[in-house]
Amino acid sequence: MKRFTIIALLALVAAGAAFAQDVNKILKDLDELGDFDNQDFSAVYTIVSQKPGEKDSVSSVQLFRRDKKKQFTMIVLLPEVNKGQGYLREADNVWFYDPTSRKFSFSSIKENIQDSEARNSDLTLRGFAVDYESSGVREGTIGSIPVWIIDLKAKTNDVSYERLVLHVAKRQTMLLKEEAYSVSGRLMRTTVYGKPVKLGDKQLPSQIIIMDELNPGERSQLTMTQQSLSAIPDRVFTKAYLEQVSK
């Protein structure tokens, strides 16, 4: 009996180690799916933000990404009052251009976009495998899609959330849902990723809904259009471009 228990434990440990490798592979696959390593990526994101008792607000941004150089340019197209505001990011440095004062300034990448629930980091390169480690995996379904439900704990302080719970489609590795928790374990934000599209050898969601769990009823929907893998001119990732396209 004792021998059987030891063998069972060893089998469990071995299975656990194998599963941990699988989880790491899933996280790396997710990172690669969102990483346009040798290609430029551009798209227009329309963000509808909803707050209880208020009319929906609509924002729109033009996004340019060059992941190879960790470059990111975002131009606000709507609302009219913010039109022409621009963000330029290279590695960890972010410049914000305000056409109202015609000033450039540094801005934190963790800031939200246009008073919506979306953060700049929602539109940039992510690093689940680098920033987080798995603390548990189980199976489940979303709609009719079988998923892995992966519990992640932050390895670094440079992330927005301490703990994430990811729901990843099994057959086509694809993130479908993300729950973000604070250090105290409070659910802060739920994000669902749907209506995926294929773009070259990549697949990415064309719709994202972000729900603010601290303020029930507050949510934002990001819809992607005009996506492209065409080469982006170098000048797009310069201060000169932010000035040129501003109002």
Partner: protein, 454 residues
């Protein structure tokens, strides 16, 4: 805390109760609807088709307009204010020393024409009631050489500084930052600017030739150049400004981040100064004022500050310190104020005395060497449409200042109400006590009406 599963189930139950279509695993709220089956599809029909961008338009579509864009903003308000010059010695609600009602109506109009990727024409005008004049605020054209060297010629804002409330490096614009309205655009001169972003980096080089008037000599042109360099998580800048027969000026800037805290600093060094100092004031009845200038001494100004905001909390903090080497030394400033009193005090009350007091205010305004400003603002304070802020501006040389708390409530889209107060503090003859005719307290009630952009 509710779990997402419980929340989804509750919303799904609500959807069922409301008999929404496709109620299973579905909920809808406002215009954002979410149906799991539709949103995630099935394993067999996982991907959807979405319109892709036309070929060859990436980055260019924002640089060309098919028609001239015209826009602007209109700002309207009415503010009633009551001021008590010395409320701490004797206060009565109806004992105010001054009151006023200030209706305000102002507008900015702009045009923006972009006939091709390489050409842009932009102009803006400002006017305000009583519409005595409409001022051209900006008028410039953009063009470039081979998309590498970018030119802008015309009347334009030239922001060299990185400061928020104060900016010693702001040496080209025609206006200084107003600490009470730090986000406002500053008026700049007519100038030719060349901008060269160094390829493969975020280093930038800027060169300027500025023109003071439409009728000038070639030697009256001011020339300036600035370089901006990214070093790790910091952006450093250095610039020089020169005009014949004017003080040579140099500036340095630095800005960076420590986690969510934005930090910035500026330095200014010049050989000589354009400033004119008061050196002596003769006693009553003469009142003759003596002045002096300095074309040879080195003058330094420096400033450092921070900006912190947390969008989840709707909270923003900003603070900055300024050292102004062109300010008066404390002993000189106190001596001059004493001399001013020796002239003003014997004057009988009336217009002549008011005129002399106004001259004293001009003398003390910005006369210190050490200043600081701090602001805190929070939106959605308890109520969705309630915002609060507090601002402190202080002369650290004489420990006087002004505290201005305010509350603003959006009544509905297009109209908001605000209440603000202003408290001057400091000793007698300190800067903000002189400027406010004593340790004054003011209360203002305002309505903002129809302010917006188009």
């Amino acid at each position: 805390m509710r779990s997402p599963a419980i929340k989804t189930a509750a919303l799904a139950a609500l959807a069922l109760a409301l008999a929404l279509p496709s109620a299973q695993s579905a909920y809808a709220q406002g215009s954002i609807t979410f149906n799991e089956d539709d949103f995630f599809g099935s394993e067999d029909e996982f991907f959807v088709e979405v319109e892709e961008a036309p070929e060859g338009t990436v980055g260019a579509s924002l640089l060309v307009y098919d028609r001239v864009r015209v826009g602007g903003s209109v700002s309207g308000s009415a503010t009633a204010s009551w001021t008590w010059d010395d409320p701490y010695s004797s206060f009565a609600l109806d004992g105010f020393d001054a009151y006023s009602l200030k209706p305000s109506l102002s507008s900015t109009l702009f045009f923006d024409a972009r006939p091709s990727e390489d050409a842009r024409f932009y102009g803006s005008m400002k006017t305000a009631w009583p519409f005595d004049e409409a001022e051209v605020f900006e008028l410039f054209t953009d063009f470039n050489f081979d998309e590498k060297l970018f030119f802008r010629f015309g009347k334009q804002t030239v922001n060299w500084g990185v400061g928020y409330f104060f900016s010693p490096a702001n040496i080209i614009n025609l206006q200084a930052i107003d600490p009470f309205n730090p986000g406002a655009q500053l008026e700049g001169p007519v100038s030719l600017r060349a901008h060269y972003p160094l390829p493969g980096s975020q280093h930038n080089f800027w060169a300027y030739a500025t023109f003071d008037s439409p009728d000038m000599k070639p030697e009256d042109i001011a020339v300036a150049a600035k370089g901006e360099f990214v070093l790790g998580a910091w952006e450093l800048g250095a610039g020089l400004w020169y005009r014949y027969d004017s003080p040579l000026r140099g500036i340095v800037t630095a800005s960076g981040s420590l986690r969510d805290l934005t930090i910035f600093g500026e330095g200014y060094l010049a050989r000589g100064s354009d400033k004119t100092w008061v050196s002596a004031i003769a006693p009553f009845p003469s009142g003759t004022v003596s002045y002096e200038t300095d074309d040879t001494s080195a003058f330094f100004k420096g400033s450092a500050g921070f900006l912190w905001s947390k969008s989840d909390w709707n909270l923003t903090l900003a603070g900055q310190y300024l050292y102004d080497g062109e300010g008066y030394a404390d002993a000189d400033r106190l001596s001059l104020i004493d001399q001013a009193h020796a002239f003003i005090d014997p004057i009988p009350a009336g217009d002549a005395k008011d005129l002399a007091m106004n001259a004293l205010k001009v003398l003390v305004l910005g006369s210190g060497r050490h200043y600081a400003a701090f602001s805190v603002s929070k939106s959605e304070l308890y109520l969705k449409d309630l915002s609060a802020s507090a601002f402190v501006l202080a002369n650290l040389s004489d420990f006087s200042g002004l505290v201005r708390p305010s509350l603003s409530y959006r009544l509905f889209k297009g109209m908001s109400a605000s209440v603000s107060a202003s408290f001057a503090f400091g000793s007698a003859d300190s800067e903000y006590i002189v400027l406010n005719d004593g340790p004054a307290m003011s209360w203002s009630f305002g309505l903002s009406m129809g302010t917006g952009s188009f």
